[in-house]
């Protein structure tokens, strides 16, 4: 069942890639949308089949592959993988919808996007460390091409920078995996939660740090973030949606699954440092965003800050904070997608992303009134206004982490305040004020250009007022992950030993 999520996009990518050149771009786009739409429907079906009370892995698939290497085709999903697979399928479809109907070299473009989608789904589902690594590296080349061919003016520079950083990230992760398997003497690379527990604590800490840096580059966390602003700014809107919405989550997923999941004990030792690291990222992202003059760069820096919340929740190690973190991955993905899409439309229509040039876009007839209104909504969601998806996730994180790390949590709260600051700057300059009568002859916004944002806005609203649809998928999994962390008087409890009653009252386990 899970293989469909991986292979349908990859086969689809191959088919689109080998279409004759005479096929018009619009047809290729529709083909990609159809394939991605089927994947999305399949994902929705998986959601309906998912057993919410089971905290373990479901829908397992196993196929022996290269057994001498310990590399087998092993797939499964738990609550964490489920929501991220859902996010991946949804945002891939949105990114395709957000792409221009007249993209150059459409066959390559759309097949690369589908390839990325399949690769990312594979990484979320892989239950074998080497298989994860393969999928993790698989998206590298397509992304490099997507940035370097369809990007902005400095796309070559941005793409190479992205490539180098991600390659180093991959090398560190591979080193971490190899070290883990060799040192623990495991027979193969199959993933088991708590599989690093048997190692001495120092070794655990060492391997965890290697993995944290590897995934920290991908998320990215300060100070490994310097590739992000250039890459996000130079990539076209649909690619930025994929980068910020999905690829960053792959890093966060790696931290959860392979950091916290494999080394729970070392994780709990590092947790205070991680919380401080998260707080630094949050503040740095927000401050840097305030200083920007380019709205896309501003949104890119906001992403760094918001990914910090995810780490904060993970460091706190309470079920509530962990659920919050996983929810934040989804909420941030959707909110970032709407922001990048809208910024992309503004850039395309106005021809500028400069705060000093943009003005008065809320003008009802000559401006981009609908796009500006949606931008205000997206900014409100990002700043954590209640009733929108961002609030739910951030509130859960703060609620769950305050008892453990009060100071970093308060710094995080200040960070949401700063989010409001830079978004007010952005909205005030971009949407309000007067249009310049000398320059403001922008083309009209078509319905197709509004559609992705309208869908995303609908989801943001829905998850904001119906938060259980955001959090219920990962509750059992995150409770089990927390339970697996050895505390002073308790050594690892197998996740399967949890009863439904414990799942239903996750806070009870906190002490």
């Amino acid at each position: 069942m899970l293989s469909v999520l991986i292979w349908l996009p990859i086969v689809g990518a191959a088919v689109l890639g080998f279409l004759p050149a005479s096929v018009p771009a619009k047809t290729v786009r529709n083909g990609a949308l159809a394939i991605s739409g089927v994947v999305l429907l399949w994902t929705i079906w998986l959601f309906t089949q998912f057993n919410l009370s089971d905290s373990g892995f479901q829908f397992s698939e196993y196929l022996p592959w290269i057994e001498t290497l310990g590399l087998n085709y092993e797939l499964a999903m738990d609550g964490l993988a489920l929501v991220l697979v859902g996010l991946n399928s949804f945002l891939t479809w949105i990114a395709l919808l957000s792409s221009s109907e007249t993209t150059d070299r459409p066959r390559l473009f759309y097949s690369m996007i589908l390839l990325v989608s399949g690769g990312v789904a594979g990484a979320f589902l892989a239950q074998n460390l080497l298989l994860f690594f393969l999928f993790y590296e698989l998206e590298l080349v397509p992304f490099y091409l997507l940035i370097s061919i369809w990007g902005g003016a400095k796309r070559g520079y941005a793409a190479i920078k992205f490539l180098i950083y991600t390659a180093i990230s991959g090398a560190l992760i591979l080193a971490g995996f190899l070290g883990l398997v060799w040192l623990s003497g495991a027979k193969d690379f199959s993933y088991h939660s708590g599989m690093g527990q048997a190692l001495p604590l120092e070794l655990q800490l060492g391997l965890l740090v290697v993995l944290l840096i590897g995934f920290g580059i991908k998320i990215p966390l300060v100070p490994f973030h310097t590739w992000l602003p250039d890459t996000y700014v130079e990539a076209s809107a649909p690619i930025t949606i994929l980068l910020g919405g999905i690829l960053a989550k792959l890093g966060a997923y790696g931290v959860f699954r392979f950091g916290l999941g494999i080394f729970p004990e070392a994780w709990s030792k590092l947790a205070p440092a991680l919380a401080i690291w998260a707080a630094v990222s949050i503040l740095y992202g927000a401050m840097a965003a305030i200083a920007q003059k380019d709205i896309k760069r501003m949104v890119a820096y906001s992403s760094i800050g918001h990914m910090g919340y995810i780490l904060l929740g993970a460091a706190a190690l309470t079920p509530l904070a962990l659920v919050g973190s996983i929810s934040q991955m989804v909420a941030h993905g959707i909110i970032l997608a709407i922001l990048f899409h809208l910024v992309g439309v503004i850039e395309q229509k106005v021809g500028s992303r400069e705060l000093d040039v943009l003005n008065g876009l809320l003008n009802p007839i000559r401006g981009l009134a609908s796009i500006s209104s949606l931008l205000i909504l997206g900014a409100m969601a990002s700043a954590g206004i209640p009733g929108l998806a961002g609030f739910v996730a951030e509130f859960l994180i703060f609620q769950g982490s305050y008892s453990v790390f009060p100071i970093p949590t308060l710094v995080g709260v200040v960070g949401t305040g700063l989010t409001a600051v830079y978004f007010v700057i952005l909205l005030n300059r971009t949407c309000f004020g007067r249009l310049n009568t000398k320059t403001a002859y922008y083309p009209r916004v078509l319905f197709e250009e509004r559609l992705p944002a309208l869908i995303l806005a609908g989801v943001i609203f829905f998850l904001g007022i119906q938060p259980s649809w955001l959090v219920k998928w990962s509750e059992a999994t995150s409770t089990a992950m927390v339970a697996a962390v050895p505390t002073l008087d308790r050594v690892a409890i197998a996740p399967t030993s949890l009863t439904n009653a414990e799942v239903a009252t996750p806070l009870a386990i906190e002490d």
């Binding site: 008065g360 003008n363 009802p364 007839i365 000559r366 007067r434 249009l435 009568t437 000398k438 403001a440 002859y441 083309p443 009209r444």
Partner: protein, 435 residues
């Protein structure tokens, strides 16, 4: 009437050093502030026509309010004009005209009557539903113009009309009308006793309703006739259009401005015709100054911060009129320029609809495009006023005396000084790219 005002002055005077030297030379040669291009001509004439139809409603309803609704404390139906006022014969159109400016009908324009029946919904709903849906002629714009004249009137110090509103004679006339109007209404009579000035001020406002109504009664047929002449090919350039306006201004200058109120069938002359107030000095010139130049910062287009000095302390420094206005916010709910643009949109001639569809966002931003054309057309009207003032106060453009020509130039330069302000649109309308 082509080229009647062309002057050889450019050969007799050295070139002007004014910022708008090119425009001043054009005015000296008998041209307008608006460049003479077929595109400009088409826009301004099309807009005159689109403006004249709602204007035909404006003047009738303004007079209806001034003469019939008067001091009704709850004037819910003041925009529901009576049939009598729709049938009322324009003094400058139709068979019964005093001076037939327009060859068409003297009662309400057929397009206006059709629109009043069906609205843009094209369905015969009860009038009240059309009204609530704003599917109607929006009198709010006309009232905004009236208020601009009322509010700036005292400060402008033009003519005798506004000064008369403060006279004892006016006070007595108003008092008689107020007492007659509220006869048998002890509540309102008590109110009048308690707050006589408030009622007097309301009557002054009614007098301005009448003033503006009488002004526009003239302008509607002038614009209709210009549109017809353009369709017949008899107005072929922007100076032609301007000269028609100049001639019109002089032909009608003496039309009396008065205020009569009808209470129970009896006529109360609050401002009698015998006062001799003339259309040109008591209505046209104050109107141009108050509405084209000054007005007030329209609600909704911009928030002005008076504490930050964004609103001038002196009323004479107000420059928010159509010659200065930012037309891009047109479309914003509730602002009078939007309501006017909405009114004109219903009556655009087909050639302008087609023209707008080819530019900018076509159908989507027609409201802004026509508002910009309207601005161009008002620059043509203002040019006519400037030329008319020059004719009345100074010398012909082909005067052989260089000193006279220099006096003319000084006059033009002084007029154009008012457009040196950064927000003035005179620079913009020189190019076709401003639309």
């Amino acid at each position: 009437m082509t080229a009647t005002l062309v002057s050889p002055s450019s050969t007799k005077l050295p070139p002007s050093n004014h910022e708008f030297a090119e425009i001043i030379h054009r005015l000296e040669a008998g041209g307008a502030m608006l460049p003479d291009t077929p595109e400009n001509l088409m826009q301004i004439i099309g807009l005159y026509k689109a403006y004249a139809v709602p204007m035909d409603f404006y003047w009738r309803d303004l007079l209806y309010i001034a003469e019939q609704v008067f001091l009704n404390p709850l004037p819910f139906f003041k925009y529901f004009i009576s049939q009598e006022y729709l049938d009322r014969q324009n003094h400058y159109a139709g068979d019964q005209a005093d001076l037939r400016v327009w060859r068409g009908t003297g009662s309400a324009h057929p397009e206006l009557l059709e629109f009043m029946q069906k609205g843009e919904l094209k369905s015969k709903l009860p009038r009240l539903l059309h009204h609530w849906y704003h599917d109607r002629i929006n009198m709010e714009f006309a009232e905004e113009c009236m208020r601009a004249m009322l509010w700036h009137g005292r400060d402008m110090g033009m003519g005798q009309f506004d000064a008369y509103l403060d006279s004892e004679e006016y006070r007595q006339n108003a008092d008689r009308a107020i007492k007659a109007y509220f006869k048998g209404n002890p509540v309102m009579m008590a109110m009048y006793k308690a707050f006589p000035d408030m009622f007097l001020e309301q009557v002054r406002q009614m007098s301005y309703y009448s003033n503006l109504g009488l002004f526009w009664e003239v302008m509607a047929p002038v614009f209709f006739e210009m549109s017809d002449l353009y369709d017949e090919g008899k107005i072929a350039s922007v100076p032609d259009a301007m000269n028609f306006l100049v001639n019109g201004i002089f032909a009608i200058a003496g039309r009396p401005i008065y205020h009569h109120v009808y209470i129970n069938g009896e006529c109360y002359e609050i401002i009698p015709k015998s006062k001799g107030f003339m259309w040109l000095y008591e209505a046209a010139l104050p109107y141009v100054e108050a509405v084209f130049y000054r007005t007030s910062p329209f609600r909704g287009t911009k928030s002005y911060n008076a504490q930050a000095g964004q609103v001038p302390a002196e009323q004479k420094d107000f420059h928010y009129g159509v010659l200065y206005a930012d037309k891009f916010p047109v479309g914003t709910a509730g602002i009078p320029p939007t309501l006017l643009a909405q009114d004109m949109l219903h009556f655009l001639p087909p050639y302008l609809v087609e023209y707008y569809q080819q530019h900018c966002r076509g159908e989507d931003d027609m409201l802004v495009q026509l508002a910009v054309s309207f601005q161009r057309s008002m620059y043509c009207v203002t040019s006519a006023v400037i030329q008319a003032l020059r004719t009345a106060l100074l010398y012909p453009l082909d005067d052989p005396n260089p000193e006279h020509l220099m006096a003319n130039r000084k006059f033009f330069e002084a007029q154009l000084d008012r457009f040196k302000r950064p927000e003035a649109r005179l620079r913009d309308i020189q190019t076709p790219d401003y639309r």
